[in-house]
Subunit: 457 residues, 2 copies
């Protein structure tokens, strides 16, 4: 009988009372957002027509390491946190590996993902400020679902621009958001100037996250008492997602485990940024720390093949500029790409850490191999993972198999960000053998780089 | 700050070590299964060509109150149990009720339901006996999914006959089962004699659970080293599901709560039978006990409008006869009925308890009101419930609102059997206003009763 249980739960009073802000401990700070008109760093005041005030302050806060979580957010967190830490004994047995595999499972709520952590915070602050409606974009649908749940809970109206390809692949995601009271519009749409412009330039396009962002931002600034919210990339989102890492470390500490490897999928960076947060703190403070690995799709390889440069966060070039690893804001992932992790850029904080060699490694993986890993994991651990999470599972399995070869008993912690219940079209493509891989050529990528804005920095 | 947390978890060593068998404590025993040829009670030996040996013994065991759970099953249980007990504070607040509302949530695994509790046991025993393949039916899809998960875990082949209407409404349920390695066939099909006969009699039928059972049983008895397994109705299934009630009572005891009302949806009876198990024991032993309420769809009202009589468990009339509340094995629920709880009969144990007035009450509820309740619950508690579970939520809300009128602070425990992630077509019908209600007329029901077999008893 193993002494460490299969699922390790913290108690309700161990839900974090403060978020952790990695930027505060970074000696070399992430580059600030720039005003594309002036080329100057954006202040909280300048951001506040887009984001609500408290979130604007959090966005530019690079000095406070810990920020209190308001009681009104912790109350909502109690409905789905603390999330379990899972010891993947069954997977270990199936792989016959000496590695000890843990994952922090964030899918135990209807959004099926970690996104609800930031949605709760963003809607709460908006409500506090008297904002009556929000707009956002969603790709795979987790963020839109999470936000619709938080909006239902706090009583705020919501309009979601959903990437058209995802909306078609996942009609039921739309239905979930509508069940929680949100209005869902497939993007690009004719409801905004940026949507109409993209439709004209790329008729028949499946859309992209960058394009949906343009529409959602436009919606927010053209509607009264409305603000825009974003589920990844931003510093504020990484801040809120630090609850993942804080809880994970508390649970690991409790059972006397310390990870050799921390592995997370990275699309915009919110999950990995959250998962590694307090472990990264140890590294930033010069102490012993795990090796950090970011995993991304080979078909949308911003960290592994992108450029570290200032770029727009959206296709319509309406947002502030962020310095990040990017494929260019006009990059459109291949239509055969299943679901999330299709964003052209990457969190400025993660980008800076990666550029400085502090985030140790990034790997691109092909999607059929990702679904091999997803299916193996599901059959052993009773949880059908989100395709996004399965990127981390792929590398976890690869590392565990390497341990089998070398005989090393490494401790691996990965982020099981969510469940795949609304990704069944992709699973169907996989089980029926119809799923294909795609790796962009250098020429494909060059097209995206050609669209990068000319900015100093 | 409330002292009772939102989610109450037991520790892994509190996973039950024994199942509880209500039949052992019933003074008046449930009627035995009859051999339709001889009219005599079936023995374990007679059942064993259909079920594996240990399950056959459990099926006829009406004397042992507690039966050990093998370690090999508890090992699998650890991947998804103990399941949380949820204090629905947010729902209480939204209803402004003095009632205290608890639910035992069984949806925290990919099957999205409690069905995995019995699937684990049934596949384990089959594997122990050297059985290499299993067949079953599934209606809403939870049972088939649960079984495909257990078969993947223990390494047993699986063929699932899925009710055709559900297969059409829920294409992704099929995909989940296939992701776990199962073969899924829409029923009625041309792969069995009973399927072909039903197709001939009712061309274009959407199928029914009773019909899918006929096909699955036929598949099992015509294939070598194959057995049939069933997800509800049977005594063995209620036995396995007692883990729900044992854990629920342990958690309630721990926080010093005792339910005034125990409310569960009832299709075949596995959930309610499991949830009430050890609370029912107190009543069977003459002690103080909660009031037990079974909730069923008004469109498939076996307890509230059925007959207590011997009937076949399947449409093809191939199974043993069970004495139960039944609408007649040829009863076909209306096509507008969403998802599960569409079985014509009811667990013989629950039927006997209800006939004797020990199971206190049964209520039929209409599906639009069920989805009103589902949506309200989801928006407050972050879990989109399965339509089946929402039947219990409907009556829980009704009772909580009655408490608001009377000022009584009743303690309510209901079974949140699962999640609705694969029921989005029904939610779409509801949110778009297309969902309708259906209540069969007495004449409709009479047609089903006319098909009841002529049996003594």
């Amino acid at each position: 009988m193993p002494e460490i249980p299969y699922r390790i739960y913290l108690s309700e009073d161990e839900i974090p009372k403060q978020w952790y802000n990695m930027a505060a401990d970074m000696k070399d700070k992430p580059a600030p957002l720039l005003n594309p008109g002036t080329g100057l760093a954006m202040t909280a005041e300048e951001l506040s027509p887009i984001f609500c005030e408290e979130l604007s302050r959090q966005e530019v806060n690079i000095s406070d390491a810990f920020i209190d979580i308001p009681e009104g957010i912790r109350e909502f967190y109690k409905a789905f946190r603390p999330s379990p830490l899972i010891r993947a004994y069954n997977l270990e047995r199936a792989l016959d590996t000496p590695a000890r595999i843990y994952c922090k499972f964030e899918g135990n709520n209807t959004s099926g993902s970690h996104k609800l952590n930031s949605a709760a915070a963003q809607v709460y602050y908006a409500k506090q400020q008297g904002i009556t409606s929000l707009s956002t974009e969603t790709g795979a649908g987790q963020w839109g679902t999470a936000l619709s749940m938080a909006c239902a809970f706090y009583g705020v109206d919501l309009t979601v621009y959903m990437v058209k390809g995802s909306a078609r692949q996942k009609p039921y995601r739309k239905a979930v958001m509508e069940s929680f009271g949100a209005t869902v519009i497939a993007s690009p749409s004719d409801t905004t100037n940026s949507g109409r412009a993209i439709l004209e330039k790329f008729p028949g396009t499946d859309g992209s996250l960058g394009c949906a962002i343009s529409e959602a931002v436009e919606y927010a600034v053209t509607h009264e008492n409305c603000r825009y919210v974003l589920g990844s990339v931003l510093n504020q989102v990484l801040l809120h997602q630090s609850v993942i890492g804080i809880e994970a470390k508390a649970a690991m500490d409790k059972i006397g485990e310390y990870p050799d490897l921390v592995i997370g999928c990275a699309g915009g960076g919110s999950n990995l940024g959250g998962l590694m947060s307090v472990y990264m703190r140890e590294k930033l403070q010069g102490r012993k720390a795990p090796r950090f690995i970011a995993v991304e799709p080979a078909s949308c390889p911003s960290l592994t093949r992108g450029k570290y440069a200032y770029d727009f966060c959206d296709t319509g070039k309406t947002t502030p500029l962020a310095k990040m690893y990017t494929l260019g804001c006009e990059f459109q992932p291949s239509p055969n790409h299943a679901g999330g992790l299709r964003y052209h850029g990457m969190s400025p904080i993660l980008s800076k850490l990666y550029a400085d060699g502090i985030l140790d490694e990034a790997r691109g993986v092909e999607q059929t191999k990702v679904f091999d890993a997803a299916t193996l994991f599901a059959r052993q651990e009773t949880i059908l993972p989100a395709p996004e999470s399965a990127h981390a599972i792929r590398v976890t399995i690869d590392e565990a198999l390497r341990c089998k070869e070398t005989g090393e008993a490494k401790t691996i912690l990965f982020g099981l960000t969510g469940t795949g219940y609304f990704d069944m079209q992709a699973y169907m493509d996989y089980t029926s053998g119809k799923m294909t891989d795609y790796i962009p050529t250098d020429e494909d990528l060059q097209k995206g780089f050609d669209g990068l804005p000319q900015v100093a920095g």
